[in-house]
Structures are given as structure tokens and as C-alpha cells.
């Protein structure tokens, strides 16, 4: 199966990881957001058929949360990386 390159550990079988969902930043100030926008944050998703960014957790490994850029139609992993700065989400 898919080899997922963990930024710490290198390419490992995808079975070692847990999927964390598409990248979906949490509003930094939740109270400032109106009900509709908050509902969108909680429930609505881009669910892109194509290239998107998503979270992975190295569950049976180093415990790192990292991002991957993957084409969801082919499962091709374009790159994996750590967020540039703490993302607050």
C-alpha cells in the first residue's frame, strides 16, 4: 500500500498513520464568527477531487502531526511537510 513519507521517519506504510482530515483552519477568534460561518467551519468541507492538503498523524510511530499534499483521485502524494508555523488549528 501507499508509502507516506513522515517528515521524521521517512517513507512508511500508510497503515502506520491515522488520517486527520483536510486542512481546515480553526478561526482564531471563534466568538467573532457568526453562526452560519461557525456552522460552515464545524461541518462543511471542501472535499476536493484533486490536489488538496490534509493532516496525518504518525500513530504507530513518532506521534507527529504533519501535512501532506495529495491528489485524492490518484492517491499520489506530492509532498509532506510541517506547517510553517503553529497553525492554531
Amino acid at each position: 500500500m501507499l508509502l507516506l513519507p513522515c517528515p521524521n521517519c521517512g517513507p512508511r506504510n500508510v497503515a502506520e498513520f491515522r488520517y486527520g482530515g483536510e486542512m481546515h483552519p480553526r478561526p482564531p477568534a471563534p466568538e467573532a464568527v457568526d453562526d452560519e460561518a461557525w456552522t460552515d467551519f464545524i461541518y462543511m468541507r471542501a472535499n476536493k477531487a484533486g490536489r488538496h492538503r490534509e493532516w496525518w498523524y504518525h500513530h504507530r510511530g513518532c506521534g507527529l502531526w504533519f501535512l501532506a499534499e495529495r491528489d485524492t483521485t490518484t492517491n499520489t502524494i506530492l509532498r509532506t511537510y510541517l506547517p510553517a508555523q503553529p497553525h492554531g488549528s
Partner: protein, 394 residues
């Protein structure tokens, strides 16, 4: 069975998705409401999506009263379908067992049994002896990890020839003047002033004021064309089939803890499925992990089947929603309707969904049966939680 047509420049209703949901809607538009200037578009052959890939299980033993009533209506339509279409869809009443391996599961099964019976649906809790009588192949002996404590027994549980359902609806819709356009991909939807004006396809543009998104796996892609946001994440769901065997499994067996469901078809093959894949994807390739997992779990339940050979594995796409219930009805865009979010339980709901969406499109009124499943429910915080009754919801 169905004719080929050129794409007309306009239709009263355009249905995107030529599976059981879309074709049923077309049929009921014509049959119940006399609306026949309808086009059903599919980017492949009809039934190429979920309708042709599911494990053909029909049941109504759900958890919420709204869910139970809804799925039971569908089951009734399925049971009458052969006569209605004069086409044998091989509807086969088998009886359905949902195994409970923990006391928490027993509690949930009892809850489902009570809710079911209060809606007039046959379901009750049975113990290991009765389970063994119904299904001699099951191992009900002491098992440290997955003891079979009880099961929810649902006699109306059935299987059916899924392709035949698609063909039946297609033929009937075609006969009533509906145009079925296979190998026609939707590339865009035009709107003006917040309402739908037409559909762009690989074969040309269609002018229309009513578009139904009846796709699975592509719900977001289509909804994006009109800017409607959906709470859907698409996951592959894999299934497999064994070589044909002389009949030994009369009932449908499901185990939530073991993430497996199985039935034996009228052709003698075991049809098996499990939980959705562990990560979201649009790839239909399938994985070895699925094959290993399902084999292991099947043998936990039926150790005698170790010589049975897996013949073929495949995958379909499931649009998962936060509450494991579908999304049906109106959207903020006028003329754009939804029949999506069907997760792992879409096929069994095809007939009733089609009928209800037809009513909505024809009359403008949302039938009470599907009102609980409106898109607005997420904004109103009024979810319909069926996670406890989707076959392998957790």
C-alpha cells in the same frame, strides 16, 4: 430496454446521476406527476457508480424513528418492484442479523428493536441459541474477544440484484418519455440571480430550471458548480465476492465490532463488505489491507470458511456526512436540489428517495418523510444521528 437520444436543447428537469436514485426520481416524476420532459445524465453507463458496486442489502432496522420509517417505505417499494416493472429484480427476503459482541452493543440493538417495532417494523433481540439455529455456520462458542451475546433479528432484511433495479427504473422511465443520456459528463451549471438556468455537458448545453444532484462520490464536485457547500467527505468503500458455493448461508449477517457484513447471493457467491477506508479518497483502486481485514474478520465469525476463495474485490465511493444521514431537498440556489450524502446506505433508499424528490421537484413542497434530512439541519443544529445503525458506522 432504453433508447439513445440526442441531447435536447432544454428539459424541464435535469437529473445528474444515472444510478438508482436518479433513475427512480425520473420514473416517479413521470409516473406520479406526469412530468416527462426529463433528462438523466450519467458520465458512464447507468448504474456504474454506487448502484452497481454495493452489497445489495435492503433493510429498515435503523436507529431513529425518522430513519426507520424512511427506509421501511423504501423496502416496501423494493418488495413490489418486480410486479410494478414486470421485471424480476430477484428480491430475496433473507432475514438480517446484526450481531452484538458487547453489552453496549446489546443495549443499542434493544434500542433499535424497540424503535423499529414502534414504527411497525419487525425486529427483535435474540440470543446465541436462536442465532445458531438461523445461521449454523456462525461460531457462537466462547470467544474472549468477540463473544456473540445477542443479535438484532430483522426478518424483512433482503438482498436483490442491484443492476436489475437500475435497469428496471431505466426501462420504465424510458418508456414514459424520459431521456437517459449515458457517457455524458456535466462540466458546469449556470445560474442567474440565484437560480439555475442550465447545465453544461460534454455533449452540449441544456437549458433547464430544475437540476437534481443525485450523485454519489461526486456530490461535492457538482454542488461546487453552483457554490453550495456540503458537509460531505468522500471515502472509498470496498467489497468483495467469493467463488460460487452451494448454499449454506440463508441470512444476512452483520457485525459492527468486526466491521463485516455478508450474504450469499442467489448465484452462490458470498458478497462481503466492511467499513469505509481509513482515509478520504476518490481512488477506486482498493487495498490489500481491506482483503486481509475482511478475510480475518470473516473467519472470526465463520472459521469453517478458510478454504473459500475470494474471487474479486472492488470499491465504490461513499459521501459521508457528520450524522450518517443523507442530505435531501432544497438548497440556497433555487432550482438546485440535493439527493446526496448517502454514505454506506444509499442503495437501500433509492426508491423512496426518488419518489420524494420527484414530489418536491414537481410540487415545490418537501414531503414530511424527507424533511428531517434537509441541508439546513446543520445550520439549525438538528442532526439525525444514525451512526449507531449504519452497518459499520464506527
Amino acid at each position: 430496454m432504453w433508447r439513445h437520444h440526442d441531447l435536447a436543447p432544454s428539459y424541464d428537469v435535469v437529473i445528474i446521476g444515472g444510478g438508482v436514485h436518479g433513475l427512480a426520481c425520473a420514473y416517479y416524476l413521470a409516473q406520479d406527476h406526469g412530468i416527462t420532459n426529463v433528462a438523466v445524465l450519467d458520465k458512464s453507463y447507468i448504474g456504474a457508480g454506487g448502484s452497481g458496486r454495493n452489497t445489495t442489502i435492503l433493510r429498515s432496522n435503523y436507529l431513529t424513528p425518522e430513519g426507520v420509517v424512511f427506509y421501511d417505505e423504501s423496502l416496501k417499494l423494493y418488495s413490489q418492484m418486480a410486479e410494478e416493472f414486470d421485471f424480476n429484480v430477484l428480491f430475496s427476503r433473507r432475514g438480517h442479523l446484526t450481531l452484538a459482541h458487547t453489552d453496549g452493543a446489546v443495549r443499542t440493538m434493544r434500542r433499535r428493536a424497540e424503535v423499529n417495532r414502534l414504527q411497525g417494523v419487525e425486529s427483535w433481540l435474540i440470543g446465541p441459541n436462536e442465532i445458531k439455529r438461523l445461521c449454523p455456520a456462525l461460531d457462537v462458542s466462547e470467544h474472549p474477544r468477540y463473544p456473540i451475546l445477542a443479535a438484532l433479528y430483522h426478518p424483512p432484511g433482503s438482498i436483490i440484484r442491484h443492476d436489475a433495479v437500475v435497469w428496471g427504473y431505466a426501462a420504465q422511465a424510458d418508456r414514459r418519455g424520459v431521456h437517459i443520456h449515458q457517457h455524458t459528463t456535466v462540466t458546469g451549471i449556470r445560474t442567474a440571480n440565484g437560480r439555475v438556468t442550465g447545465v453544461e455537458t460534454t455533449r452540449g448545453f441544456i437549458k433547464t430550471g430544475a437540476v437534481l444532484n443525485a450523485t454519489a462520490g461526486w456530490a461535492t464536485t457538482i454542488a461546487d458548480m453552483v457554490g453550495v457547500r456540503l458537509p460531505i467527505v468522500t471515502y472509498p468503500l470496498q467489497a468483495c465476492v467469493s467463488e460460487p458455493l452451494k448454499p449454506f448461508l440463508d441470512v444476512i449477517v452483520v457485525s459492527g465490532s468486526l466491521h463485516v457484513y455478508v450474504s450469499q447471493s442467489d448465484r452462490g457467491e458470498l458478497v462481503m463488505g466492511a467499513a469505509v477506508d481509513p482515509f478520504a479518497s476518490y481512488s477506486l483502486r482498493g487495498s490489500l489491507a481491506f482483503a486481509e481485514g475482511i478475510a480475518g474478520h470473516m473467519l472470526e465469525l465463520f472459521p469453517a470458511l478458510r478454504h473459500v476463495r475470494m474471487l474479486r474485490q472492488w470499491a465504490g465511493l461513499c459521501d459521508m456526512t457528520p450524522d450518517y444521514s443523507p442530505i435531501m431537498g432544497l438548497t440556497p440556489v433555487e432550482g438546485f436540489f440535493l439527493d446526496v450524502g448517502w454514505g454506506t446506505y444509499g442503495f437501500k433508499a433509492g426508491p423512496i428517495s426518488g419518489r420524494c424528490l420527484a414530489e418536491l421537484i414537481a410540487t415545490g413542497h418537501t414531503p414530511p418523510l424527507i424533511f428531517p434530512f434537509r441541508l439546513a439541519r446543520f445550520y439549525e443544529r438538528d442532526l439525525v444521528g444514525e451512526k449507531g445503525a449504519a452497518s459499520v458506522g464506527h
